[in-house]
């Protein structure tokens, strides 16, 4: 967690602008990505799948090499070249053996290399999905880190106004109450979203239900932040200050990054899922235990999505 965010939370708690429970929720939802174990497990699984085809290739190459070595016989053998010399119109013994070994090698190695190529292609596409998801998660974190700054900036301004402008104390008091409600909702939504991520780990992208829940939770966080910003809209001095302009730019920038990351994640998933369903990739996917990935979208979008994914 950023030191700055921790300082803000501590200050808000000290000033009574957020409750200790809210402070604890904020602290818990911030910090580095919370799925290192899931990520590591996924990478280990991917690594496990990757060495399997190469070990088979190595085995086949070994078998072929041994067969070739066997052609020469033992060191003490004196070769009777008359047996292996080509006769007019016929094949020598050596050529026949060589052809047989070569045929076996080709029959084993070529399909295996093809399989390796297909497998690695699928692994690359899956990696692109993981990368796109990591980008999306990092943008969620970026947004979460902005929540203390947003609540702190707006509540501090309102409290200052409420303390200094006695003539409008009542109106400001109502605004403070409204802000407190909005902040409470926002912090709870952020906690829920963080819990879904924690619960799902990296596997969340293979669980359509969980990912849809996460989508809704993140959308709620976005709406919650918009609600707090809307409170500031009623105060021209706050709204037009450089500090708030900076904060607003960061929030809008983060929302845009989330949209871009979501679009790229869904593109990567579409490419990966479509490939998995095509021949011969589907055979490789089944043998390599590749899992279909879920799209990061709302239920409504999922409902309206085209059924066929082939382009």
């Amino acid at each position: 967690m950023e030191a700055n965010a921790e300082e803000r939370i501590a200050r808000m708690e000290r000033d009574g602008r957020i409750t200790p429970e809210q402070a604890a929720m904020l602290r818990a939802s911030l910090g580095p990505p919370r799925t290192p174990d899931g990520e590591a497990a996924k990478r280990r699984a991917a690594g496990h799948r990757r060495w399997l085809p190469w070990s088979l290739v190595a085995l086949v190459v070994l078998v072929v090499a041994v067969a070739f070595a066997g052609l020469g016989g033992g060191p003490e053998t004196v070769q009777d070249v008359t047996q292996t010399l080509n006769q007019p119109g016929g094949h020598g013994e050596m050529n026949r053996t060589f052809s047989a070994v070569l045929a076996v090698a080709l029959l084993l190695v070529v399909p295996l290399l093809l399989w390796v190529w297909l497998h690695n292609g699928l692994v690359s596409k899956e990696e692109r999905v993981f990368e796109a998801w990591a980008q999306t998660e990092s943008n969620f974190q970026r947004r979460a880190d902005l929540i203390p700054a947003l609540v702190d900036t707006v509540s501090r301004y309102l409290k200052h106004e409420s303390d200094t402008l006695t003539a409008v104390t009542e109106a400001r008091g109502a605004a403070l109450e409204k802000l407190a409600d909005l902040s409470e909702t926002l912090i709870r939504r952020q906690k829920e979203a963080a819990e879904i991520l924690r619960r799902g780990g990296t596997g969340v992208i293979e669980d359509e239900t969980l990912l849809a829940q996460l989508y809704e939770a993140q959308a709620e966080v976005g709406r919650g932040m918009t609600g707090v910003v809307a409170v500031a809209e009623d105060y021209p001095e706050l709204r037009s200050s450089d500090q708030f302009l900076e904060l607003q730019a960061q929030i809008e920038g983060t929302e845009n990054r989330i949209n871009v990351a979501r679009m790229r994640f869904n593109d990567a998933v579409r490419d990966y899922n479509a490939t998995m369903r095509q021949l011969p990739w589907n055979l490789v996917a089944a043998l390599g235990r590749f899992q279909r990935k879920a799209y990061f979208r709302s239920e409504e979008e999922a409902h309206n999505a085209p059924k066929l994914e082939f382009e």
């Binding site: 021209p236 037009s240 302009l245 900076e246 730019a249 920038g253 845009n256 949209n259 871009v260 679009m263």
Partner: protein, 360 residues
């Protein structure tokens, strides 16, 4: 036969002359095009050809000096501007000219009245969203409001250059060629195209900077006092052209100017680190100059005129005689004669007008 021979004799040099002229014209076109082919795509027709060329030329310097590939696209009905910028950026990335992945894309949608500056991954650390929003709102769109789109873009580019110079001088840029892509960094702002001048101060733009500096706006008894009052006024983002601390000619000039909040901030910020020398009075005691050591290249001198026993700031002569180079260092326009030249007798100037200390 003879006539034919004569006509051949004339035709050959004429043809050669025409070919030479065509080659020269082509060379000019190539050189112009090479300055910045495709850097400015003004599909909405918001700029004149001369303005487009000026912009492209300036942005070509940005590429040469800082390896920043800065493109400009204007259009109408571009759809969701953030998505458009990301898609167009991806297309640009394929033909990107920056070896270190530094890319900027400015999109102006005239129909939606929106402007967006998209920033590549490699530049996110140097130009964070807040800075981009700041230059859009506080520097660029005040010009757009007066229908001076090219000037607004150029004014913002000046701040981009200043920040790029600081980044290069301090920690340096981060950047890899792959980072020319964009992840949605940047900011979108209402363009205020043709909206006219902002309402008189106090505006929302200067609200965050405290009280309007009415008390500090009078001319001082010394040049130093006047300059201090001017910095106070700038710090308060007071763009009133009729302040008493200006000379009458300066007031007339400022009435036609666009003075943006970012420009005013920049005056305060850039002079904070400057060490002023003692004021140098003119022969009749009616003029004064406050200048800075030559080594402080970004700190241009200030000119003052004494009217009714008070020292007034003369920005007209500064505007006429002083220029700033690409490295943000000031120099004189040597073709301009001005009454403040006496204050620089102990300096010499190179052929471009940059000051040098006179050798003893």
């Amino acid at each position: 036969m003879r006539r034919s021979s004569n006509s051949n004799r004339i035709a050959l040099p004429l043809t050669l002359l025409l070919l030479a002229a065509a080659a020269a014209a082509a060379a000019v076109l190539v050189v112009r095009g090479a300055a910045a082919p495709g850097l400015v795509a003004d599909e909405a027709g918001l700029m004149s050809p001369a303005e487009r060329d000026r912009l492209a030329e300036y942005h070509a310097y940005l590429l040469t000096d800082h390896d920043i590939d800065y493109r400009v696209v204007t259009g109408r009905d571009l759809g969701e501007i953030n998505a458009f910028a990301v898609q167009r950026f991806e297309a640009f990335a394929e033909t990107g000219r920056s070896a270190s992945g530094r890319g900027l894309l400015l999109v102006v949608d005239a129909t939606q009245n929106l402007v967006r500056l998209e920033v590549s991954y490699a530049l996110e650390g140097v130009f964070p969203d807040a800075f981009v929003a700041y230059i859009e709102q506080r520097q660029m769109t005040p010009f757009f409001a007066r229908d001076r789109v090219a000037d607004g873009i150029l004014a913002a580019t000046e701040l981009i250059v200043t920040r790029a110079q600081h980044a290069a001088a301090q920690a340096g840029f981060e950047g890899e060629a792959w980072a020319l892509g964009s992840g949605g960094a940047g900011a979108t702002t209402t363009a205020r195209l043709g909206a006219g001048a902002a309402p008189a101060s106090p505006t929302p733009e200067n609200a965050g900077h405290g009280e309007r500096a009415a008390g500090g706006a009078s001319a001082g008894r010394t040049p130093r006092e006047t300059l201090a009052a001017y910095f106070t006024v700038m710090d308060a983002r007071n763009d009133d052209p009729d302040l008493a601390l200006y000379t009458p000619a300066t007031r007339r000039m400022l009435r036609g100017w666009v003075m943006t909040p970012a420009q005013m901030d920049n005056v305060v910020r850039s002079y904070r680190a400057c060490h002023a020398e003692a004021p140098r009075l003119g022969p009749e005691g009616r003029r004064a100059v406050i200048r800075y050591p030559i080594a402080e290249r970004a700190c241009a001198p200030w000119f003052f005129e004494k009217i009714d026993d008070a020292w007034h700031l003369d920005l007209t002569m500064m505007q006429t005689a002083i220029r700033f180079g690409r490295s943000n260092a000031w120099h004189f326009d040597l073709s301009v004669r001005h009454p403040y030249a006496y204050a620089f007798d102990d300096w010499t100037f190179d052929s471009h007008g940059f000051p040098r200390r006179r050798r003893p």
